[in-house]
Amino acid sequence: MDDLREILEQDLSRVGPAAFDLEELTTKREGVRRKRRVQAGILGLVVVTILIGLLVTALRAVETSEPVTTPPPRTNGWVVYSILGRGFDEPQGIYVARPGTDPKRIVGAAGDGARGFCPSFSPDGSMLSYTEGHGPGQPPGVVKIVVTAVDEFAVPVGSAQRIEVPSRGGGRGLCAQWSPDGTALAYSDSGLWVVPIGGGDARRLVEGPIHGTLAWSPDGTTIAGTSSGYVVLISVDDGEMRAVQAGTYGGSVSWSPDGRAVAVAVKDGSDGGSDRDIAVIDIERGTSRVLPLGPGVTGNEPDWSPDGQQIAFVDEGSIHLVDPDTGYLDSLPGVAVPDPSPLEIHAVDWSPDGQRLLAFGTDYQPELAYCLVSIAADGLGDPVLISPVTIAFYYTGPSDFDWQGVPT
């Protein structure tokens, strides 16, 4: 319909030039930059303060002849994910993958029927934990958290530590979380438990249900979770529990890298409760601030970036990034992998260096399937397919994949 295009072209010329110029744009840009500089200055002060604190601690340790044994940070560069359920084209088990290599199954052998899920690397990438559900011949009512060392190919080596946990169901909700120093795991099962790596009894910090994905504070002193619609903070030292925010859904809680705040999805109250916003809770003051995502944008499963500048979340299959200080909202382009139709994204996870996001999504064409992709956090460059595109991910959830920084 050429006349339609003609109408559009005519209207386009009738609209005339834009009223704004580069000078106006420059002024706006300077405003944005000034705000960022102030934020960077504050962050710099925080970093300097922390460094001074660390230096003082180190000096004291030297004075008292106590060895400082902080392991150097490293990443192993692998993505780990689990495939649950039988009868699909990919056998169930736990797999590791990197772009450009075929995924390897590292847990589960053909016909063993064991169900491994919630895999997670230790912060230094040297160990792997996962939950082992019931398999043929295993007694019901007990699931195991398995902890094993892995080599540079992420393949388990040596003997594994198996922590038995009584469970009424198949243990599907039992997902252990590593402490920041990699010396302990926390899990929720009729209370909140912490168990040391390498042996020793599990210690129950609190009784009663703690829901959502548990989140250790960066300094390892506190664990955040949700209970009865509240965000709760639990002291690892003495189990003291503090409720800091109402109106949550039991989803994940994400700590800011400086440990001063947590982000969580909350009911926004504007439409009777079906919409959600993201609340940022100041830990010290106990106050919260709701980031106004606006009607129609739902803040699910917030995940704070390692540099603290953005919080990633998923809404209607798209990935959004919100600035926790200004509320400025950005959206990443649709993920057109493996074909031009965009994936419907369900969950994201930052890479440890904050440069990329690992996303789990649904591909509807040519038929229903799921996959894991790596996306640049600035939206530039092509997404990288990490896993096979397969229906075998049917039972996979947000806690069933983890990564340690994938080189691309």
């Binding site: 319909m1 339609l4 295009r5 109408i7 559009l8 072209e9 005519q10 209207d11 386009l12 010329s13 009738r14 609209v15 030039p17 834009a18 009223a19 704004f20 580069l22 106006e24 744009l25 706006k28 840009r29 944005v32 504007s270 439409d271 606006g294 009607p295 129609g296 944008v297 209607e316 798209s318 909202l329 950005d330 959206s331 382009p333 649709g334 057109a336 031009p340 139709s341 965009p342 600035d378 530039l380 460059g381």
Partner: protein
């Protein structure tokens, strides 16, 4: 033949190209396209400025972008999509029925009478496909809808332009 609005045929921007040149080259047309979609001068300026600001922030990486012109359109279209979605929800929340009569704002009078009766989504569908030369799949990605929806929006737009109802 419809052109792909920004820079034709995916030309790679030379690294030496300045943002100023890029801005001057694209600002009027991007503003115009946004105006055709929003029928509102202020909205169109905000969307275009937001897109240029983001592009400017990423200008150091522009050499890695195959078609910077197309990319700034994509940023603007993302922002447009978000606004339309918010407007839809807002309308639902306030229980206000969408207006069945064409807007008679001063801005919208700049548009051809036939275009004024269309909804923003319908206008966007025809602007992308007829004016910018997007395929149905590309337009669906830009607007966050299924490719079949683009076909439906175009059908509704054409029907409305011929005097039929402008549902959607």
């Amino acid at each position: 033949m419809a052109t792909r609005g920004p820079s034709d045929q995916g030309v790679v921007m030379p690294l030496s190209a300045s943002f100023e040149t890029f801005f001057e080259e694209h600002k009027d047309r991007l503003f115009g396209v946004m105006f055709l979609m929003t029928a509102n001068r202020q909205d169109a300026e905000e969307l275009a400025q937001e897109a240029f600001l983001k592009m400017w922030e990423r200008w150091d990486s522009v050499g890695r972008i195959a078609d910077p012109g197309a990319y700034v359109y994509r940023i603007a279209l993302n922002a447009f999509r978000k606004r339309v979605r918010r407007a839809d929800i807002s309308r639902r929340l306030t229980l206000r029925a969408p207006s069945s009569t064409p807007s008679a704002s001063e801005d919208s009078l700049l548009l051809h009478e036939a275009l004024r009766v269309l909804t923003p989504r319908q206008r966007a569908a025809i602007v992308l496909t007829e004016l910018l030369g997007y395929s149905a799949i590309e337009a669906s990605e830009a607007l966050g809808v299924k490719p079949s929806t683009i076909g439906a929006l175009k059908y509704q737009a054409r029907a409305a332009l011929k005097g039929g109802p402008a549902d959607g």
